[in-house]
């Protein structure tokens, strides 16, 4: 009965969220920056959660996320560019050699799948490495992937180092939210399953996990591949959001940004990653943008403000979080209805006793 209640509340809340989004799309002008934040935030939330699955839950410090997103984005873009647009996109390669254009609904899972296959192959040698060596090797692989995709000889497929564009994109916020929602739900289910426990065991203590009969290689490979699958889907969504995609944009910096999102949200917290990705995107794309412009209050020019100042402020905030709130917003906890309810109840109880100043 209690379980049923929980499910019902969850469904109602999700419905409410989508109704709210729909309502927002009606009320606000489509140009509102809120939508940029919501779209990009949702995409980054997916990628951050997928990275968290690997770094936070399995304890594998991988820095290959940008590379996997790149594969996903390219797979999606290459497979969905309409035939009639190919001549224009592949202008230096006589329209390319990919003979088909798939519908979006097929291309997105396929983007994840192709990424997962690559990740599987990369994982075979790389996952034997320990902590920082793994980090640097995955970082290296991301760079290699980028170089290969930019290679001229592959031009008929990848368009060399040039932009891919004119593939189907989304305009409504609903789409990225729906895809991200489904994907994160699957990840959460996985984390709470027996496999999720095994991943956490590996994170806590590899030797003990092995002594409990958990095959390290198999489970690490599993986590790596699944994480990359969702990173690939995230990449496909990012490609859709950007409307054009180019390998050179998927640099190590992108991985670092996602890593910082995970850290700010709390390593090992799914809800933390989601919250922080929206905050991160909102700060970097919207709220802090005013720092880039010189502002006059009367005749007084506010000092320091100018192009680039936003990023300085932003990185200082990040450093403060890393140094002083190293557990991030959520730590390893999850934001749950129950937790929220209990938190509020405790507060109101305290209030009754007069402990909390109003």
């Amino acid at each position: 009965m209690k379980m049923k209640n929980k499910i019902i509340t969850a469904v109602v809340l999700i419905m409410a969220l989508f109704v709210l989004l729909l309502a927002l799309e009606r009320i606000l002008p489509p140009s509102s920056m809120l939508f940029v934040v919501l779209k990009k935030g949702a995409i980054y939330a997916l990628v951050a959660v997928s990275m968290n699955l690997l770094n936070g839950f399995t304890g594998l410090f991988s820095l290959g996320q940008a590379g996997f997103m790149l594969i996903g984005a390219y797979t999606y873009a290459i497979l969905t560019i309409p035939m009639e647009a190919r001549g224009m996109v592949y202008q230096y390669f006589d329209g390319g050699i990919v003979p088909l254009a798939l519908p979006v609904i097929l291309a997105i899972p396929l983007a994840g799948l192709v990424t997962a296959i690559f990740a599987y192959l990369i994982g075979l040698p790389v996952l034997r490495l320990k902590s920082d060596y793994l980090a640097i090797a995955t970082l290296g692989f991301a760079e290699i992937i980028r170089a290969i995709l930019q290679w001229d000889k592959l031009g008929p497929i990848t368009n060399g180092s040039n932009l891919l564009k004119l593939y189907p994109v989304f305009t409504s916020v609903i789409f990225p939210f729906a895809v991200t929602g489904v994907c994160i739900a699957i990840i959460v289910l996985l984390i709470n399953s027996s496999y999720g426990r095994a991943f956490k065991a590996i994170r806590e203590d590899e030797t003990a996990a092995e002594a409990m009969g958990i095959n390290l290689a198999h489970h690490k490979q599993l986590s790596f591949t699944i994480s990359s699958f969702f990173a690939g889907i995230g990449g496909a969504l990012l490609a859709m959001y950007q409307t054009t995609v180019q390998a050179s944009a998927f640099r190590a910096t992108m991985t670092y940004e996602i890593l910082l999102i995970v850290v700010i949200g709390g390593i090992g917290s799914v809800t933390g990653s989601c919250i922080s990705s929206f905050l991160f995107i909102a700060c970097s794309e919207w709220w802090l943008r005013f720092l880039d412009n010189t502002i006059f209050i009367g005749n007084f020019q506010v000092p320091l403000l100018g192009p680039g100042f936003r990023k300085v402020v932003f990185s200082v905030i990040v450093m403060i979080i890393v140094l002083f709130y190293s557990r991030g917003i959520m730590g390893t906890k999850e934001l749950s209805l129950e937790g929220l309810y209990q938190f509020l109840r405790k507060r109101s109880e305290k209030k009754k006793k007069g402990d909390v100043p109003a």
């Binding site: 426990r197 003990a208 390893t332």
Partner: protein, 280 residues
């Protein structure tokens, strides 16, 4: 015919130029409680690590239920470096990873407790069941293994109840007091449904009272789950009270074996070991 569950044959473990286990041979019969004792650095834990697949022995072989689970001979650089015995007696190389060994039914605890600290007590025990569940990542994720999951949860709760750990079920393992952490580690090992249980200094850091109850507990566990127990221990009263037989190691070599009384009266053992570490 005796029923050996575990046999070690001429096992030698050499790190660089140092011999940690020297031509060690021992047999453990089904249902026995066997103790492995010896001064610090005698190679006891190394023996455990060889059995559980953490280390690859340099030479010799280990049989578990009549099946070879580890076998090796000096190779590569070791060929020149090797200073142990029986250099050419073994030709096969068999190696299993620790998880494979665990799946075969050998569970262990660790000298320096290795619990999954940030996970709850319940999760710690559940993890040990993971390898026995009939599932794959899809059925597990999409909850198609619900019956299986229900069953193991029930089993684990029962196990925790038996160990008096039920009240701590949802607490993180690291929040338990030391004695309970030891008990949880044994519970976790039991949850993996072993036939052979290796205990690495289970009584370390316990007072005489606790040690006594632990001794009873070990015997109880052996009887209830029809286990064979192989333990390393420094508490001599515990060892003498519960062991069927005792092996004594010194500098990697076996210097004696026999029943507790035999060992107590063995001069070499007393010289090498007992006189020094009695008070431990």
């Amino acid at each position: 015919m005796t029923d050996h569950i575990l046999q070690m044959e001429n096992l030698t473990m050499q790190f660089g130029g140092v011999i940690a286990l020297d031509n060690l041979s021992l047999e453990i019969n089904r249902g026995e409680i066997i103790a492995l004792i010896g001064p610090n650095g005698a190679g006891k834990t190394t023996a455990f690590n060889c059995i559980t697949g953490v280390y690859e022995p340099t030479n010799g072989c280990i049989r578990y239920e009549e099946q070879i689970i580890a076998s090796n001979h000096p190779q590569g650089k070791m060929k020149k470096l090797y200073i142990g015995k029986n250099k050419d007696s073994y030709t096969r190389v068999i190696r299993h990873t620790p998880d494979k060994i665990a799946q075969m039914g050998i569970a262990r605890t660790f000298q320096n407790i290795r619990l999954f600290k940030d996970l709850t007590v319940f999760e710690n025990v559940l993890i040990a069941k993971h390898m026995h569940m009939k599932q794959n990542v899809f059925t597990a994720t999409f909850r198609m293994n619900r019956r299986e999951e229900k069953r193991i949860r029930k089993e684990c709760l029962d196990l925790l109840e038996e160990q008096d750990l039920l009240p701590f079920c949802g607490e993180p393992a690291s929040s338990l007091p030391y004695g309970l952490q030891r008990r949880l580690e044994i519970a976790r090992a039991l949850a993996s449904e072993p036939k052979l249980l290796l205990l690495d200094e289970p009584a370390a850091g316990m007072d005489p009272q606790e040690t006594r109850s632990l001794a009873d507990f070990i015997v109880h566990v052996r009887n209830k789950y029809r286990l064979t127990i192989f333990l390393i221990e420094h508490h001599m009263d515990l060892v003498m009270r519960i062991s069927d037989r005792i092996y004594v190691l010194d500098f990697g070599k076996q210097i004696a074996q026999g029943s507790p009384t035999e060992i107590q009266n063995n001069r070499r053992v007393v010289e090498a070991y007992l006189g020094v570490a009695e008070d431990a």
